[in-house]
C-alpha cells in the first residue's frame, strides 16, 4: 500500500470526482464504518444526529433532508432479528429497500420525550426513500449478524 502526502491525496481525490456527471440518488454500504450513507440530492449539507441509529443530512439551500447515515448496521440487524424475526423477509430480497430500515426502527424504538420531532424526521426519510427508490446492497451483513 502506497503512503501519500496531503498533496498527493488531494490530487488523487480531486481526480476521481466528476461533478459533471448527472447526480443520482444513491445509498452506499461503507464496510469500514459498518454504516449506510444515503444521499438523494447533490446539495451541500450539515449533519444532525437524531438518535443512536440515524444521522440526517440537511440541505444548506432548502433545509430539507437530503440524506444521512445509518450507523451500526450489523448490530441493528441483530437487534431487529431478535425483536421481530419477520424482519428477515424485508432484508432477504436484495438490494434492501432503505425505507424498510427506517420503518423497522420507527416501529420498534421505545418512545422518548422528543419523539414527535424524531418521528416526523423518520416519516420524511421513509417517504423520500420510497419516492427516490433508493435501495442498498449490504451483501450478507444482516445474514451474518444473526
Amino acid at each position: 500500500m502506497k503512503t501519500m502526502t496531503n498533496e498527493e491525496f488531494a490530487k488523487a481525490v480531486l481526480g476521481v470526482g466528476n461533478p459533471q456527471k448527472p447526480f443520482k440518488p444513491k445509498a452506499t454500504y461503507i464496510p469500514a464504518g459498518d454504516c449506510i450513507e444515503f444521499v438523494w440530492s447533490p446539495d451541500d449539507y450539515r449533519a444532525h444526529r437524531i438518535d443512536g441509529l440515524v444521522t440526517v443530512y440537511y440541505s444548506r439551500k432548502t433545509n430539507l433532508v437530503v440524506g444521512g447515515l445509518i450507523k451500526g448496521v450489523r448490530a441493528f440487524c441483530r437487534k431487529m432479528l431478535e425483536k421481530c424475526p419477520g424482519f428477515r423477509v424485508s432484508i432477504e430480497v436484495k438490494p434492501v429497500k432503505l425505507e424498510y430500515i427506517f420503518l423497522a426502527q420507527l416501529w420498534t424504538e421505545p418512545r422518548r420525550p422528543n419523539d414527535e420531532t424524531i418521528t416526523k424526521t423518520y416519516e420524511e426519510l421513509i417517504s423520500a426513500a420510497a419516492r427516490q427508490k433508493v435501495d442498498v446492497d449490504i451483501g450478507d451483513v444482516c445474514q451474518t449478524a444473526s
Binding site: T3, K26, G33, E37, D44, H48, K79
Partner: protein, 121 residues
C-alpha cells in the same frame, strides 16, 4: 499517523458537488492533522451492545480555516459548526461532515458528552 480512506466513501463523495470533493481532498486531512479534540468510542443507545464501536473508534473534531461552496470555491468556515472525521479501529477514515458546534465550546460538536465515551485530546 498514517490512515487509509474507505474506498466506498471516497467514491460516494466523488459523485457529488465539487465542494464536497474538495472537503474530502483538503479538509479531512487538515482535521486529522490539527484537531481541536479527539473522542474515543462512538456510543449507541442504552440497549445496544456497546463494545462494537467503542474500542479504538475515533472522532476527530475541529474548525478548518475554510469551507467550500458547491462550485468548489473556498469560503470561510461555516459559522457555528465543526467538521467531524470518523476513523475506525483499523485507522480507516470512513465518514466526515459538518455538524453543529457546542454553544459553550465552538471547537467541539454539540452533544459530545453523551455521544462519545471519552475525550482523548
Amino acid at each position: 499517523m498514517t490512515v487509509t480512506y474507505s474506498y466506498e466513501k471516497v467514491m460516494a463523495s466523488a459523485g457529488r458537488s465539487q465542494g464536497q470533493i474538495q472537503e474530502a481532498a483538503c479538509i479531512v486531512p487538515m482535521i486529522l492533522q490539527q484537531p481541536k479534540a479527539v473522542f474515543l468510542g462512538l456510543m449507541r443507545d442504552a440497549d445496544e451492545p456497546r463494545q462494537e464501536r467503542e474500542e479504538g473508534w475515533l472522532c476527530y473534531s475541529g474548525v478548518p480555516a475554510l469551507a467550500y461552496n458547491e462550485d468548489g470555491s473556498s469560503k470561510s468556515a461555516w459559522p457555528g459548526e465543526v467538521f467531524l472525521v470518523f476513523v475506525n479501529r483499523e485507522k480507516v477514515v470512513y465518514n466526515w461532515y459538518w455538524y453543529q458546534c457546542d454553544p459553550d465550546d465552538p471547537g467541539l460538536p454539540e452533544g459530545h458528552a453523551t455521544r462519545f465515551r471519552e475525550r482523548v485530546l
